[in-house]
């Protein structure tokens, strides 16, 4: 199958500082790809390049078939993005947020109507549809914000620490949503500090000081590092890191 993300020696320098150092990897359609690394390892910079928000210094990459140097607008139309910090407009209602994001991603009115209803039902938000997003508990906001990020059925959705601070039950409900969209064929590219969540990924890469130091399925990584858990694998690799954020 054709890879949806292809990076080859992708690098980004800021002056003399090499934030991302020749990273190469491929991600398949419908794969849940965990993108791990210590604070300051270069994850955010790498993710920004893949989202078409930052032009690389060298190397090549395509996302959804589009070039990260020349086709950044096409990339943005074919991906979804959700981060812990920027998600939804707190002073718009649930429905208004859905309409707003759907509109930006170019959904037709009829599509929007249909998708809004389906989404509200799926998330059990019937009673909250006309409430301001600011009044919802964090866990609901996160689930809504994820659902909005995939409303236009993108080829890939990028999730930057989507479950930080969320309670353990909601965190798992969130992963149910991730499994559902991956099962539909949407590729999920996710960063997290919860090492149990690394185990939920099909494959995981671990960045240290700008380079990808390990990349494989969780069982193979554990085998490779003779570790019992991904936590141990991560610790083994990241404790040698020279830099932090």
């Amino acid at each position: 199958m054709q890879a949806v993300i292809k990076a080859d020696k992708l690098s980004k320098h800021f002056g003399h500082f090499t934030a991302v150092n020749k990273i190469s990897f491929e991600v398949a359609p419908g794969e849940i790809f965990g993108f791990l690394g210590a604070n300051g390892a270069g994850k955010t910079t790498a993710m920004r390049m893949l989202c078409g928000l930052s032009i690389p210094t060298s190397g090549t990459a395509t996302v959804a078939g589009f070039d990260v140097y020349k086709q950044t607008e096409e990339i943005k139309r074919n991906i979804g993005y959700m981060s812990q910090k920027f998600s939804l407009y707190e002073d718009l209602t649930v429905l208004e947020n859905i309409r707003f994001y759907g509109g930006i991603y170019g959904l037709s009115d009829r599509d929007l109507q249909q998708k809004s209803e389906a989404l509200i039902t799926r998330l059990n938000l019937q009673n909250e549809a006309k409430k301001l997003v600011g009044s919802l508990p964090l866990g609901w906001k996160q689930k809504l914000s994820f659902s909005v990020a995939v409303l236009h059925e993108p080829k890939i959705v990028f999730l930057d620490e989507p479950t930080g601070g969320v309670d353990p039950v909601t965190r798992r409900q969130f992963w149910d949503l991730i499994y559902e969209v991956a099962d539909r064929g949407i590729t999920v590219f996710v960063t997290t500090h919860y090492m149990d969540e690394a185990e939920y990924c099909n494959r995981v890469s671990i960045m240290v000081d700008g380079s990808i130091e390990a990349l494989d399925t969780p069982p193979k990584l554990k085998q490779q590092f003779s570790a019992n858990s991904m936590d141990e694998v991560f610790y083994e690799l990241a404790r040698g890191a020279k830099r932090s954020e």
């Binding site: 620490e161 353990p168 099962d183 500090h193 939920y200 991560f234």
Partner: protein
């Protein structure tokens, strides 16, 4: 050292109940953890105890002082590291530390032994502005500033949120060393795995305490037999387990799914195994496991909502 008696706090003219009659005690020299997700009420409790917020009802004392009447005494004796970085970004590392020492009528030299282990790691950058430090270094500076007047109690509000697994481990090592110096520590965290590093913990959700005890006792009190199951596709495994009526709880834990059965007395595993095989699952593994704090939290939390 710290006592809370039915402490409550509401916001928006009483419409949001943030802290709901919370009572617990922290003993001298204890490392006490307040464990719960965002919105559980952890920060509201910390702000009340550090006299930055008035409770609606109930009372609390810190080091024998009342949090309302004796707020000035409390401010002199406690150290507080808020969840959000709150030092002066445009002062240097050393200037920040000096500032906090001065307002507490002391000097860096006088209490240097207490912060030495932590401060030496950032001392090479002492002329750098605090705003230009990395996340890990900011955290170390904030901890040094909270300690420089040798507080009797240290309040740490989510010191490890958003911090990677390696730095989190280092931070807890620092706390252990501080504990040996006799400082009482009250720390909050949303990471359940950090609970086992505390002497005692309170699990908190939606403003209410779910349980208070040592981590070991909380785990021992788990009433059901817990099993861990894995198979090739965790997603389909989850769906099939949820559809199986004899399963009570069913939650993912890393590569495994943790389940308990409705009928505790029966031997349920062979039948479940047969069911999963029939559903086409491959490489099924099922084993009994000891619950962790997160299992306990989930059970208490789901019971609360039902």
């Amino acid at each position: 050292m710290v006592t809370l008696d039915k402490l409550s706090k509401t916001y928006n003219k009483g419409s949001v109940l943030a802290v709901d009659k919370v009572s617990f005690e922290v003993n001298k020299g204890e490392l006490f953890g307040l464990i719960g997700p965002d919105g559980a009420g952890k920060t509201s409790i910390f702000r009340m105890l550090t006299t930055l917020l008035l409770p609606d009802e109930g009372s609390a004392t810190v080091d024998g002082f009342d949090i309302v009447k004796d707020y000035k005494s409390i401010r002199n004796t406690v150290g507080y590291m808020p969840g959000r970085f709150s030092l002066y970004q445009d002062l240097s590392v050393e200037e920040n530390l000096n500032f906090f020492a001065t307002i507490f009528n002391t000097t860096i030299e006088e209490n240097y032994d207490l912060i030495k282990d932590i401060y030496v790691q950032i001392e090479p950058f002492k002329d750098r502005k605090a705003g230009k430090l990395s996340g890990g270094m900011k955290q170390k500076l904030a901890l040094s500033c909270a300690l420089i007047h040798r507080p009797t109690i240290l309040f740490l509000d989510e010191p490890t949120t958003g911090v990677d697994a390696v730095s989190r481990k280092e931070f807890w090592e620092m706390l252990k060393r501080l504990k040996t110096q006799g400082i009482t520590i009250l720390v909050s965290t949303p990471y359940m795995d950090e609970a086992t590093l505390c002497d005692r913990i309170a699990l908190i959700q939606s403003g209410k305490i779910l349980s208070i005890d040592t981590p070991q006792n909380i785990v021992d009190a788990y009433p059901d037999k817990l099993f861990a199951i894995k198979a090739e596709s965790i997603y389909y495994l989850l769906n099939d387990l949820r559809a199986y009526t004899k399963v009570k709880g069913c939650f993912t834990f890393g590569e495994f799914v943790h389940i308990s059965f409705k009928d505790k007395s029966a031997t349920n595993e062979p039948e479940l195994l047969a069911y999963l095989k029939e559903k086409g699952h491959k490489n099924i593994e099922i084993k009994a496991v000891t619950p962790g704090i997160e299992d306990c939290f989930i059970r208490l939390m789901t019971e609360e909502t039902n």
